[in-house]
Amino acid sequence: MAGGDGGMIEVIDLVKHYRASDGSVVRAVDGVSLAVAPGEMVGLLGANGAGKTTTLRVLATLLKPTSGTARVGGCDVQNDPLGARRQLGYVSATTGVPDRLSAREIMRSYGRLHGLSEGLLVQRIDDLVRALGLTDFADRPTGRLSSGQRQRVSLARALIHDPPAIVLDEPTNALDVVGARDLLHLLDSLRGEGRAILLSTHRLHEIEHRCDRFVIIHGGRVVAEGTPAEILRAHASLEAAFFAAIGQADVPVGVPGMPGERHHA
């Protein structure tokens, strides 16, 4: 499906190079392709520095690609960044929710950034408070909330404009087991609503049985991808498949027996 048609989220041959402070070129992303269809949850797996965050930030219009294409809801992030932003919800590991504001105040502020009318905004906030289980703490300053509750507020903020595509960058990093499970459960229900979800993580056990497909990247390149069944066909676990994939990243083979196998020089 990588780079195929019909993806709510599409990345095609994406390249992103940075110039480091010493003048050298850092190839953060080097030809990544992937796609996420509506109602699908795709796990973007990779070690630290693999290029996950850079890929997601290009999708979120925060970074400009060096070459290649990234689209959200059919809107090219370079040619129509506003269109892409309207259709995307973004959640990061650092929640960035202001301590002194409540969940409702945060949602209201960000809803106004999307130009939502007051009536629609009130309705949307009430819906999200119910759907994401914020009722008990929606009016409490977020500085007094647990990490899991703050991440839920962050998710609510990302969903305030009802985007069809959601990108999450290591959202469970700061969460305990219970918080991570609750958040992933919420993502299940969002997928059930038909949203396309692209979730980056390196906590493989959490998503092993939740994602519809996995894309493993290493050194800025896709080294393996497939459904859980395809990934696990040759390996005992997702973790084993992951290590096999990144261990073979430098040679021209992907995970044995997997469709969408990629070859890199």
Binding site: L62, T94, R100, L101, Y110, L113, H114, R157
Partner: protein, 271 residues
């Protein structure tokens, strides 16, 4: 001629922009109501009055009005406004990067523009409020005759100082977010207080020239000034000075917004 649909879209986008900007302004003003910022505001309000009180106590016969006005001008529209804007405008982008909110604002349509302009408005409102209270307190403490017209004049100078210098500090805030404070102090010294006092074309683009010229004009000091001092003011009417400040602020702010819209911050810049 554009079709009705695109005109509708334009109107809709303009109202979204205004709504987004005001949302950021409200958001930033609520942030500024922290204990630390309120303490700083209190110091900003009291400091010029305290200086005037100290000076007044050394002159038992009472302060000369012109001297008092000169001192209050230096303390409030210059010093308090400059310091207030350094605190509120310089960290416009750096604060968002540090708090991890930059990405969440930037992924909204028009988010970057709303962030900068909204923060600018919040900085101008916060600084102007502090400076106007400081000016009023200083005028009463100094015991000058006819205080109200003087306070009115200082209010206008404070508003213009905040508008112009807030926009000036927006540039270092977007170009060098991590070193915006140092860069802004440099800009203030080099542009406002060095270039601003050079009697040449270069000082036409400074806020300090406009404010000085307005002060001299409204206080009717022009004829009393020595010839060499007259070189440091612009003799054109007040409306020209005010228009110049607004134009300068608009140009600087548009430039800062354009720069910010093209800026990319690699993930490693967020600490």
């Amino acid at each position: 001629m554009s079709d009705p649909h695109s005109r509708q879209a334009d109107r809709s986008w303009r109202s979204t922009d205004i709504s987004s900007t005001l949302a950021v302004t409200g958001f930033q003003l609520r942030r500024m109501l922290s204990r630390q910022r309120l303490l700083l505001a209190g110091l900003g309000v009291i400091f010029p009055g305290a200086v005037m009180l100290a000076v007044r106590r050394t002159v038992p016969a009472g302060l000369d009005r012109d001297l008092a006005v000169t001192m209050i001008y230096a303390l409030v529209p210059e010093a308090v406004c400059m310091l207030g804007l350094l605190v509120t405008m310089c960290p416009a982008v750096a604060d968002e990067l540090e708090r991890g909110t930059w990405i969440h604002v930037s992924v909204r349509p028009g988010g970057r523009r709303a962030l900068l302009v909204g923060t600018y408005l919040a900085a101008v409102i916060w600084t102007s409020t502090v400076a106007i209270l400081a000016a009023a307190l200083a005028v009463f403490v100094a015991g000058v005759r006819q205080p109200w017209p003087l306070i009115g004049m200082l209010m206008v100078l404070v508003a213009l100082s905040s508008l112009g210098r807030g926009a000036l500090f927006a540039l270092p805030a977007v170009i060098l977010p991590r070193r915006a404070l140092v860069a802004s102090v440099g800009v203030a010294l080099v542009v406002e207080y060095l270039a601003g006092f050079i009697p040449a074309v270069v000082n036409q683009a400074t806020v300090s020239l406009r404010l000085r010229s307005l002060l001299v004009s409204w206080m009717n000091w022009r004829r009393q000034l020595p010839v060499e001092m007259q070189l440091l003011i612009d003799p054109q009417p007040a409306w020209v000075q005010i228009t110049a400040v607004f134009t300068l602020a608009a140009v600087l702010l548009v430039a800062a917004v354009k720069i910010l819209e093209y800026r990319q911050f690699p993930p490693s810049t967020e600490i």
